[in-house]
Symmetry: C2
Subunit: 195 residues, 2 copies
Amino acid sequence: MARTQGSHSQITGPRVREAALKLFAKHGFAAVSMRQIATEVGVQAGALYNYTPDKQALLFSLMKGHMDELLEAWTSLAQTGTPLERLERFVLFHIRFHLARPEAVFISYMELRNLDRPNFEVIEGLRRDYENALEDILRAGRAEGLFDVADSKIATLAVIAMLTGVTTWYRSGGRLSEDEVARNYWDMVRKAVSA
Amino acid sequence: MARTQGSHSQITGPRVREAALKLFAKHGFAAVSMRQIATEVGVQAGALYNYTPDKQALLFSLMKGHMDELLEAWTSLAQTGTPLERLERFVLFHIRFHLARPEAVFISYMELRNLDRPNFEVIEGLRRDYENALEDILRAGRAEGLFDVADSKIATLAVIAMLTGVTTWYRSGGRLSEDEVARNYWDMVRKAVSA
DNA sequence: GTCTATACAGGGATAGAC
DNA sequence: GTCTATCCCTGTATAGAC
């Protein structure tokens, strides 16, 4: 039997997610209509519902995918070495990972309030898992006398906020390369937590 | 002549702004309707247009008011002392000011993309003015050999991102007082930029 | 799997009575 | 200054033809 005419599920599905990612990042979840997403994909609005039960699920799927990818990328890295080495690895990883997908990062930080309660709690849990990865490093370094942080939880949040901020201004092709920027941040983080 | 019945412009005007501030911060500009704002104030939707030409102007007014207040509060502080003293003053000021008005802060960082072009440029200009205040301090300290920052612009953005992040997690009545938190951040900033 | 058509709710904003 | 009523548009989501 010939394929049904106009059947593109393997292509259209990912394209719906890409279009939603792009538009949500640019205009915000609440400001983007299903019609806009459909136009971007090149289908009619009704067709989107073959790929997502509703708009909320589409947002959640994007955020969940991003957090899963983040955690998996981090845990796949070797966790060996001194706390200082592990911290350096974290800083460079965080900047590289986040600069590589600015749209997903933006959505994951900005659209939390548009998740319904159960979805929010899932994402919050994953975010906390990631924060704990950094806090473990800081605590280990403090236990060894390498680091001097008055409060490891605050230091964790401060470092992550500082590093994530890079996504709001960095543009490739600018004054500094990604590596130079990452080195620069690493200098500041290292000094901030060192004994 | 008796006053027109139901005339409350001096009261309702501020209440419209307060309601909008609260609702925009909680749900996001795009997700909040004029009807919701009206309900919060206790008037009908049409009555709001006595106080703002449209929804966009209401958002801009809130953000502009916040940025003006921020810059005025900072410039009204004495700018004397060594760069180290001035930096400490900036850090403590920034945290105190931002923790005192979490809703305005949230809106001013999250709703930039919902400003139309001319309004966006005004707010961006004010934001840059504020960043420049910090960068001037860092440059002065570097010139005197007090600070060791590889790039004063990056250090500026890193410090502001780190400090502003406090508004995403701090809740009064928590484990640490506002002053303890501010001292904690100041320790990290001082070490991060010191020679 | 995608289309057209449409249901139904809610959006911003305005007009005119009071 | 606020109200009611309303215009007109756009939103999400679904139904049924192809």
